[in-house]
Symmetry: C2
Subunit: 112 residues, 2 copies
DNA sequence: CATAAATACATAAGTAAATTATGCATTAGT
DNA sequence: ACTAATGCATAATTTACTTATGTATTTATG
């Protein structure tokens, strides 16, 4: 786990990017996907995730579909066309930010 | 300029890294150095910078030396040995974080 | 030569985006 | 039977900023 400040500001970008790749996902699924993909280094907290999902929905960036699985409900989120644009902008901005930070801090990241 | 959330959490890392490379720097100099090196994409605000410098000094990570230049004062900051360790950790953590985010978001950063 | 911009410090009030804590309910594992 | 995992949600608190304000000197500009 990284010191919490670092991850700040990346939550929306992560959510939107994963939803551009996955058609639809539910909250808990997002937490597990991120945990798996980062080897546990990034763990989305529910207190941050759910309010953010609600906000993105209210802004028309995501739509929802509630599905009953057995007796338990799942709230699937899907990205809208306008959401895709925002996702793309967010990812581009983050990419640019990384390049800037690499220059500024003189980093040598080992890219797989 | 990046959306402000992104830069959050990087301020200490930036300050410490620059001070490992520069022997001593004063606050305003830090703002200009970062502005120059990032083509204006990152601009440290005084309201964030000075309190952070004071905190780092109180923690024994930085030491200060006040110098009079003409009639104006400059407060130079220098990093201590223990500060260097922390700087190194911060930079390593950030490097790791970038690598993780590149994987997670499937980024292709163009490195100079 | 007056005025604005740059240099140089500092602090206080307000805000955004998290964390932490708590709650409810179902299902799977031991 | 009890605990951990699945799955949602919200409220209180904290953190790390931004914005605003203040003081003072030096340099550039019309």
């Amino acid at each position: 786990m990284y010191s919490s400040e670092l991850i700040k500001g990346t939550l929306k970008t992560i959510i939107l990017k994963l939803l551009t790749e996955n058609e639809k996902m539910y909250g808990y699924e997002l937490t597990q996907k991120v945990k798996d993909m980062t080897g546990g280094k990034i763990q989305l907290t529910e207190g941050a995730l759910y309010p953010t999902l609600h906000a993105l929905q209210n802004q028309g960036i995501l739509t929802t579909e509630v599905v009953n699985v057995g007796n338990r409900l799942r709230k699937y989120y899907a990205i809208t066309p306008s959401g895709r644009e925002i996702a793309s902008e967010k990812v581009n901005e983050f990419t640019d930010f990384i390049a800037t930070m690499i220059t500024l801090l003189d980093l040598k990241p080992n890219l797989g």
